[in-house]
Symmetry: C2
Subunit: 502 residues, 2 copies
């Protein structure tokens, strides 16, 4: 009798979870449409629709009926690991949502909206001080928020947990510190090198042909267009509405086919993850991504470890020749490979390369952690930024838009988000290493245009698990060793030292 | 004190109404996306999302809190005509939704889904009898539904009321009977005429250029693309997500520019109505369409009374010459005018012309009304159809797909929907007559490409009123005379007798 009851209770919970998932998918479509096809005057109403859907989802996840079902289910594990995952993650969402009072949620939403407007203005006017009060308020609200959620060591951990479950500031430091130390000399030796990769942006590439190329490559790596799309948006993103409807966006410039292609492969990596969830668990945490870091491990893996690899250039070059014969007269496979792997210290994170990107991220992580802890006043951020920039990359931003005002994240209240970018790189290097240990012939397959092996491996080891394992457990199970920055450092050295002739 | 209380209660009601409107707009986006951009495998999840949103809207509109607010507000009219409209229409929705038991709603939804599948199969196999049980069940459910809603004279009126408030079978008969009588001789004389309009489909028209033409014409008549879109869909439609986001779809064939252009103008007419609501009343019944008939009056007005008029051909022809110079060598303004106004008895409603279209609709109205009343068995529909077809148009369908199986409506449970098409034509003729009485110079303006006068007139007399007036009152206020089929008959005679040289 007891088991019967538990099963019924779980089925009731599943029903509620799935309904909330359908509302979440619907909200995702509203957001996707806003960035792609919505007419400009629709913006005000769209904000209202999104607010109504968010309010609804909050209402449902905090409802007494869900609380009751969760209480009845307790920590019972007789239903199997999938059910345990779904119950655990639903409880986590419920607890998070109920712990934060509604007026704090409202104030955070209002502040985020006003602060991002203030950020836009401050960036345009190169005026960090006018943005500082907004940033102070944002951090203050985030401290209150973290207090509501609860944490063991530092407030930062409560914020991190939303993006990267079970991560802590201390743990991330233990990964990022040695990474920074290892990357410093690598960057320095590249700066000293006299290798100058070709500038591919001096040629032109028809935009419709670029679209067709992105589509062909996405198809080749296994992105299913029957269950997805590729559209245009100002800022490329991937929106996983559900496992059978995954939407990528990219953008196109006539003189830069690599921008569009690698945006497509990056978002395509996110998309393969979303399309790879187990359909049997659709609309539950078991078919949802476990963390931003794991998500990013996939975008980085497909963009960089596949897309910017030597064997991929062998595959890509003839495709480019077919489509852009004129431009291709000016470069060969080897110069293509070097051109798409150019490394150079620069000010803007989103324009930076595979190595220095991590130094940009580490800098932001260190600063936001210090500010949240109250050890660094907001007004001192630009100084701290410049100091770290000079120490890590040897360059000094001449204005705030090249420094502390370049990213929108903080103005949105996204504190604890930045480190997931480099965690993604660290995870992806682990996964890449394990995959290649299992499949030493991988480069040959890539050269021939076959991506079935890496896709199958990722599906097996990462995608199908959804939220079953926390990120660290997921990666360690897949790779059989504890997480460290070493595989990433090794990968970067092995790749870039030959390019820069060390 | 009492007034204060009433205002507060009304504001609370408004808050609920607006939230429901945002959910409704969101559901509209889900549907629009399904017909335009959704990847094919997304269909199953989309059905779940739509069901979740419909369930939610039903839950909200039938809620005790809305009931309480409506009870407290009573029939109080101190808040002004807009509030009275919003309260009245919300009460109507609430009453309708609460009167129908949930299991009947569920059974209708399930039957509609299965019956439309059965219809597809039956139509493909030319097998009316296999569809008959589904149609019987559909009519039976609709009888039960009408009993729940309530009616004075016949069950059909309760169904009509959902699409055309306050309409009755008897009233529609009183309009359609004389219309049928008047159109018979007009069709007969055209059939006897030896005028043969040119077949424009023998030429080709580049599809991208067709798209650009549709867009240019829509812009010219006043459709605002900052608050709307034009996309492609298999079956053209207009989706008014809200006043600032109105989405049209059309379809394109290389040998038929008129199909795409007049679909765009038809949907554009619907779109002008949706964009013409009073923004101050956004998300309330005061900024919603009052009926399908009134909606159709706008699509028909802009498609036929503007778009297929002689002065419009004077405007259109040079635009065609610019875009399709080769095809235009084979026709002039006069032959264009005759070609787009070809009249001929035919089997398929959606392919029929401005005159015979009404005879198709009247036939369906008469049949569905008889079946619902239990006077005509479902299995006798094909006989009744053929008889009426022969009597009205002198032609006899050789197979069910050309007869009683051609339309999807009944399989969806849309009974009482068909007559709104011809009501729309009747309304549009009234509006057209009144507009031209007010503005005798209209043809000159159209010839010059100016559509400001008809748009302003429609906004003033129709659009801005939203649901304030019931259809009959709305049209009679706009035109100053009681509704009758005469303006439509007169308009059709004045237009088509000269074309067919009577």
């Amino acid at each position: 009798m007891f088991e019967m009851n538990t099963t019924e209770t779980y089925n009731q919970l599943l029903k509620s979870i799935r309904e909330i998932a359908h509302f979440g998918a619907t909200r995702s479509l509203l957001s996707w449409d806003q960035e792609t096809y919505m007419p400009s005057r629709g913006a005000t109403s769209r904000a209202e629709q999104l607010a109504a859907m968010s309010g609804l989802i909050h209402e449902r996840i905090t409802s007494d009926s869900i609380r009751k079902l969760l209480d009845d289910l307790g920590a019972d594990s007789e239903l199997g690991p999938e059910a345990v995952t779904n119950i655990r993650e639903t409880r986590k969402q419920h607890d998070r949502a109920t712990r934060v009072p509604r007026d704090l949620v409202t104030e955070m939403a209002r502040t985020s909206s006003l602060a991002s407007e203030a950020w836009k203005k401050a960036r345009a006017e190169e005026d960090f001080e006018s943005f500082a009060p907004w940033l102070e308020k944002t951090f203050e609200l985030k401290r209150r928020y973290a207090d509501c959620i609860g944490y063991q060591t530092e407030a930062y951990d409560a914020l991190l947990d939303e993006f990267e479950p079970d991560a802590s500031g201390e743990w991330i430091s233990s990964l990022f510190d040695p990474l920074r130390e290892a990357l410093g000399p690598l960057v320095a030796s590249i700066v000293e090198s006299d290798v100058t990769p070709l500038d591919l942006t001096q040629f032109t590439y028809d935009i419709e042909t670029q679209k067709e190329l992105s589509r062909a490559i996405l198809k080749a790596i296994g992105f299913e267009f029957e269950a997805g799309r590729l559209d245009i948006a100002a800022h490329p993103f991937c929106s996983g509405i559900n496992v059978d409807d995954v939407r990528l966006t990219s953008r196109y410039e006539e003189n830069d086919f690599t921008g569009a292609l690698y945006s497509a492969m990056h978002e395509g990596g996110h998309g393969l993850y979303e399309q790879g969830f187990n359909r049997d668990h659709a609309y539950t945490p078991m078919a949802s991504s476990i963390s931003l870091g794991v998500h990013e491990s996939q975008s980085r893996f497909w963009e960089n470890m596949i897309g910017r690899s030597q064997p991929f250039c062998h595959l890509l070059y003839p495709e480019l020749q077919k489509r852009f014969p004129e431009a291709c007269q000016h470069f060969d496979i080897e110069s293509l490979y070097k051109a798409i792997n150019k490394v150079a210290p620069s000010f803007i994170r989103v324009e930076s390369d595979e190595i220095t990107y991590n130094l940009h991220v580490i800098l932001r992580f260190e600063i936001e952690r210090e500010v949240l802890a109250g050890h660094l006043p907001v007004l001192k951020i630009p100084d701290a930024w410049n100091e770290k920039m000079e120490s890590a990359l040897g360059i000094l931003p001449s204005k705030p838009s090249l420094g502390a005002l370049q990213d929108v994240h903080w103005s949105f209240g996204l504190i604890g988000y930045f480190p997931t970018y480099t965690l993604g790189n660290i995870y992806s290097a682990h996964l890449n290493q394990a995959l290649r240990n299992d499949h030493p012939q991988l480069d040959d397959e890539i050269r021939k245009g076959s991506f079935a092996t890496p896709l199958k491996w990722m599906r097996e080891n990462v995608y199908r698990h959804g939220m079953r394992y926390k990120p660290v457990e997921l990666i360690e199970r897949a790779c059989g060793q504890p997480i460290s920055p070493s595989p990433l450092v090794e990968y970067l050295k092995n790749k870039f030292e030959p390019i820069y002739q060390k």
